[in-house]
Symmetry: C2
């Protein structure tokens, strides 16, 4: 079994994931969110796209068997195992601006956006090239009739996980989320492991 | 009253919209979709973002009073009048790849994606910088419980329209949609008018 890497609370990481390798994202203590981005390693202008994914998968609820597609309509990651079944692909990573907007009485934090921007910079990814992330474990119910959405705490228990297989050589960005609402105000670590 | 410009069936256009001007998008015959993109005129790396918009507006159903936000968390367009109340911000523009995916027995078309890429190229927008569009009049109901979505014909009648006010100087991309499902297989023109 490959070793586990910890992403400390309110921080982020970036790393390569080769085609065929499996990324396991683990919520070690429960109730934490991890924003995930994937770029094509050979040209980071190719990136996961929520719009292409919703179109091809014909759902906004993504779980085992679903594929995360790129802006160029290529498969990037396939979800091969999911102990939770509740993730979000609607919302962008929290940022200084979202802290100012939603948490006026709390200290501003650079958020997952700032953490991803710093971690991905060595791979040539500019901040403006950070799209809507695939928010692992994030619990965002949508009312189909009104369209209204809510951000609720994750339904995860300690040890819950998601496993995704790389369909091409990727650069991955991954965080332990920094926003209050997405994790119920608890700022916990995220664990990940690369298999294969 | 300013003059009307026609976007012919299965084509696209790009033009500047100054801060404070109002763009009226009209469905002259009914049952047609128009993919809309907006970029900051002084730096096209800033672009409308469905994720930021869903986050700040707290809904996926956008109508009068809602703002379309940029990837830098700035307001780009405010919807000031809407005779329809049903638009989509989940799905990416149809493209050669989506035609191959969804319409295997039909001729491949470059779609709204190709039309937008050509129209926006003179403004320095690369194809990879085309995100999920705001799909005016597009009818994409989502089942809140399952997450499943459908693409149904628009509910528009001839003359239905949407009016959006520019909150900064913009470059707009706009199409008359090329895909079969989004407009019930009728390929009709779109009209637009710039006020102010």
């Amino acid at each position: 079994m490959s070793e586990i890497t910890e992403i400390p609370p309110r921080s982020g990481a970036a790393f390569r994931l080769a085609k065929g390798q499996v990324l396991q994202v683990i919520d070690p203590e429960g109730m934490q969110v991890s924003d995930l981005l994937a770029y094509a390693a050979d040209d980071v202008r190719e990136v996961i796209s929520n719009g292409r994914t919703f179109d091809y998968e014909e759902t906004i609820s993504l779980t085992t068997g679903n594929v995360l597609w790129s802006n160029r309509s290529n498969p990037m990651l396939t979800i091969i195992e999911d102990s939770v079944g509740r993730h979000d692909f609607l919302l962008t990573p929290c940022s200084e601006a979202t802290f100012r907007h939603f948490y006026k009485d709390k200290p501003v934090h650079r958020g997952c956006f700032g953490n991803l921007a710093e971690a991905l910079a060595p791979y040539g990814v500019e901040p403006d090239a950070i799209p809507t992330a695939f928010n692992v474990f994030m619990n965002v119910p949508v009312d189909g009739a009104s369209g209204k959405l809510e951000v609720l705490p994750p339904t995860t228990s300690p040890g819950d996980f998601l496993r995704l297989r790389a369909e091409c050589d990727l650069v991955i960005g991954l965080t332990a989320c920094s926003a209050y609402d997405s994790n119920g105000g608890s700022f916990r670590p995220i664990h990940y492991r690369i298999e294969g």
